[in-house]
């Protein structure tokens, strides 16, 4: 009798523990729910929009999702953000599948891999989900729209304009790039050269050096540039690693304030150099606007206002009206210029 009772008690304990676990789990479940379900049968258009960034806990995507949420709340939809913890090529697939199962209205994705999530996106489209990509595109046939943050021309032009303004439109400038075979940077540098030749004949681009997107290499190359060209008036660094390293060198050298520096950087990296006067202004796009526009594009697709054809136009709240370009691409606009006046508004 003794043995039997004890084991029965143990059995009860196991069952109780299992039940408690399950209760705890479903507790999480019902509180986190909301997103897909209630949007599923609300009204005539299903305005639930799910954001799927490359990974969670990334300040850049936190900013873009905040922009998306603002837009979704403006048009009265349901906002949700899901995502993997690490940005590996296939880690987004299960989240896409989940969105398809939930029957969300639209999925807004920044793709970790242009191909790996294609099939999952196709299946989601088949289940009636509208697919918008932003920041990083997939192959055009896998999505309805791509929200492009900036064109190569726009990126090249804004940097040339900034440096021209900062050095008084004449003198020697140099470029501190990423690696010698970085596709994006090379395309931008080529366009900068054209833009300089066409609109700024008094500016001479003396050299392009490569910091390999490595902080120390970029730092050393900056030092070498300044020694080689004593007349140098400005440096353009179209890479976030390069501009931060160059700013760090300039801020501790006698050239601070003498040699202008601009390029593509993020506010968090550049904040101290803008505040101490090393850098006057630099450019990038505004991820909050990017998320905001993507959410409005998703809404326009859900309501059937647009289908993603070239020439379609839609309204995007405070950003105004946008037109769909070739290959189902919507351009956010000119890159955003960060300076001492506005850098405090950003945290990414």
């Amino acid at each position: 009798m003794f043995t039997k009772q004890r084991s029965r008690r143990f059995g009860v304990a196991i069952t109780a523990a299992a039940a408690a676990t399950v209760l705890a789990l479903t507790g999480c479940a019902s509180s986190g729910d909301g997103g897909g379900d209630s949007g599923g049968d609300g009204g005539d258009a299903n305005l639930s929009v799910t954001f799927l960034p490359k990974n969670l806990g990334n300040p850049y995507f936190d900013t873009s999702s905040a922009g998306g949420q603002e837009a979704v709340e403006e048009f009265g939809g349901e906002f949700a953000e899901v995502g993997p913890t690490e940005a590996s090529p296939t880690s987004q697939v299960s989240f896409i599948q989940t969105a398809a199962q939930q029957g969300v209205g639209a999925l807004v994705v920044s793709a970790n891999d242009p191909e790996a999530i294609c099939d999952a996106l196709d299946e989601a489209s088949g289940a009636g989900v509208k697919v918008v990509t932003f920041d990083s595109d997939t192959n055009p046939e896998c999505r309805d729209l791509f929200i492009n943050q900036a064109t190569a021309e726009g990126i090249a032009k804004v940097q040339v304009d900034l440096i021209a303004e900062q050095i008084g439109d004449e003198g020697q400038v140099a470029v501190l790039s990423a690696s010698a075979n970085a596709t994006n940077q090379n395309a931008w540098i080529e366009m900068m050269e054209e833009e300089l030749a066409a609109s700024h004949p008094d500016i001479e681009l003396v050299e392009v050096v490569y910091g390999d997107d490595d902080d120390q290499t970029s730092f050393d190359k900056t030092a070498a540039l300044l020694q080689t060209y004593p007349e140098l008036k400005g440096i353009i660094s179209p890479t976030t690693v390069g501009i931060a390293a160059a700013a760090r060198y300039l801020s501790t050298s006698e050239y601070q304030g003498q040699v202008a520096l601009t390029g593509l950087g993020t506010p968090n990296q550049m904040r101290e150099y803008v505040e101490d006067g090393t850098v006057t202004a630099f450019a990038l796009w505004n991820p909050a606007d990017l998320g905001y526009l993507a959410a409005y594009a998703a809404q326009a697709l859900i309501t059937g206002e647009i289908t993603g054809e070239e020439g379609d136009t839609f309204e995007a709240g405070k950003l105004g009206s946008y037109e769909v370009g070739a290959d189902g691409t919507v351009l956010l606009g000119d890159p955003y210029v960060f300076d001492a006046d506005n850098i405090g508004d950003f945290d990414f």
């Binding site: 009798m1 003794f2 043995t3 039997k4 004890r6 084991s7 143990f10 059995g11 196991i14 069952t15 523990a17 299992a18 039940a19 676990t21 399950v22 789990l25 479903t26 999480c28 479940a29 019902s30 986190g32 729910d33 909301g34 997103g35 897909g36 379900d37 599923g40 969670l56 949700a80 899901v82 995502g83 993997p84 913890t85 690490e86 590996s88 090529p89 296939t90 697939v93 299960s94 989240f95 599948q97 989940t98 398809a100 199962q101 939930q102 029957g103 891999d113 191909e115 790996a116 294609c118 099939d119 289940a127």
Partner: protein
């Protein structure tokens, strides 16, 4: 009722009792870690069906089984390896290597079937390397497979760089994705079920399978009773390599994507599921049905929680807690059983003392 009979009758039979038969059949079948996991799985499915919206759609079954198929496949040989008190941490890197081989050979114009078979062979060779280092050279499998984890992954990434091969014959990629006609069950479950049955027979109904438990409990004793410990383990690593190679081909087709960093971190998911399924990391205990339930439990839980809008960090926390609890409960169960057996012993002594006086 029958449980109390042998205890109350003064022991006239042999003093020796076999632990496995000391309890009635129903208790031996039902009160095991395997059935606890299966029970928990059923409860989780039932609750998810009732509470989580959209969990009851056929799509759930398709996506779930499709995504966990590589884990299910690799868990089969991993169970056998862990039962012998070894471990294979290189499985995910073998998946990556096999995926890259499939991609490169397909890109080079080989017929897909031939490329796939070569990729599985490469996986098998990777298993031979592991097996050789563990059994012939005699190094600990933990150290060896940590090394080959980096080595195979390095080769895979080195072969293809950061590029990806994404063009595969439609026939084969459809075959990997399509369901069994008329059901929501993906076709990959057919090879899995065949392999699962083969592994179950091998582990539970053959002398080879019994020898794995013997090795896991005490490899010297196993060796003295005529088991060739080295050769047995060698074949387990080869099997693990081959199945991981096969999983790599499937992975490639499923995502139409051959990349060096495919399936990174999969080994931990496999090992977590195997341990959750009741296999002891110290070897010598575990059963295949528990492992399959363990994989399904982690998969179903993840799927239900994702559908309920729980973020992936919290899903990781829950799976982690579940795993720790399952390991703790195994120790607790063993401790309770020891206490009970010693309690029976004391009771017998008291009865004997009472009857003799």
């Amino acid at each position: 009722m029958t449980a109390t009979a042998p205890a109350s009758v003064p022991d006239t039979r042999s003093a020796r009792t076999y632990a496995a038969y000391s309890r009635p059949l129903w208790r031996r079948v039902l009160l095991t870690r395997e059935s606890a996991i299966i029970g928990l799985l059923i409860v989780v499915i039932a609750v998810s069906l009732a509470v989580v919206p959209n969990f009851d759609s056929p799509l759930t079954v398709t996506y779930l089984l499709r995504d966990i198929a590589p884990i299910l496949l690799i868990a089969l040989p991993m169970t056998l390896i862990i039962i012998t008190e070894e471990i294979d941490l290189s499985v995910a890197s073998v998946v990556g290597l096999s995926s890259v081989m499939t991609g490169i050979l397909t890109q080079a114009g080989w017929p897909f079937a031939l490329a796939a078979i070569t990729a599985i062979l490469v996986g098998t060779i990777a298993g031979v390397v592991n097996g050789f280092l563990v059994t012939v050279v005699g190094l600990p499998s933990l150290a060896v497979t940590i090394g080959t984890l980096a080595l195979f992954r390095g080769i895979a990434v080195g072969l293809l760089g950061t590029t990806a091969v994404t063009d595969f014959p439609e026939f084969w990629s459809d075959l990997a994705k399509d369901n069994i006609p008329g059901t929501p069950i993906p076709g990959i479950m057919i090879p899995f079920v065949v392999l699962a049955i083969a592994f179950a027979i091998l582990l539970h109904f053959t002398p080879f399978g019994r020898s794995l438990y013997a090795i896991g409990l005490n490899k010297e004793a196993a060796s003295f009773s005529g088991i060739n410990v080295g050769r047995t383990k060698f074949w387990l690593f080869v099997m693990s390599g081959a199945i991981s190679g096969f999983a790599g081909v499937y992975f490639t087709l499923l995502y139409s994507n051959a990349r060096g960093d495919n399936a990174t971190g999969l080994e931990l998911q496999v090992i977590a599921a195997v341990l959750l399924g009741g296999v002891s990391i110290f070897g010598g205990r575990g059963a295949l049905h528990g492992v399959i339930a363990g994989v399904l439990l982690i998969g179903v839980l993840g799927s239900a929680l994702r559908l309920a809008g729980v973020t992936s960090d919290i899903i990781n926390v829950i799976t982690g807690v579940l795993l720790v609890l399952s390991v703790v409960s195994a120790s607790l169960l063993a401790w309770l059983r020891r206490r009970r057996i010693s309690a029976i012993g004391k009771k017998k002594e008291r009865e004997l003392a009472a009857s003799s006086s």
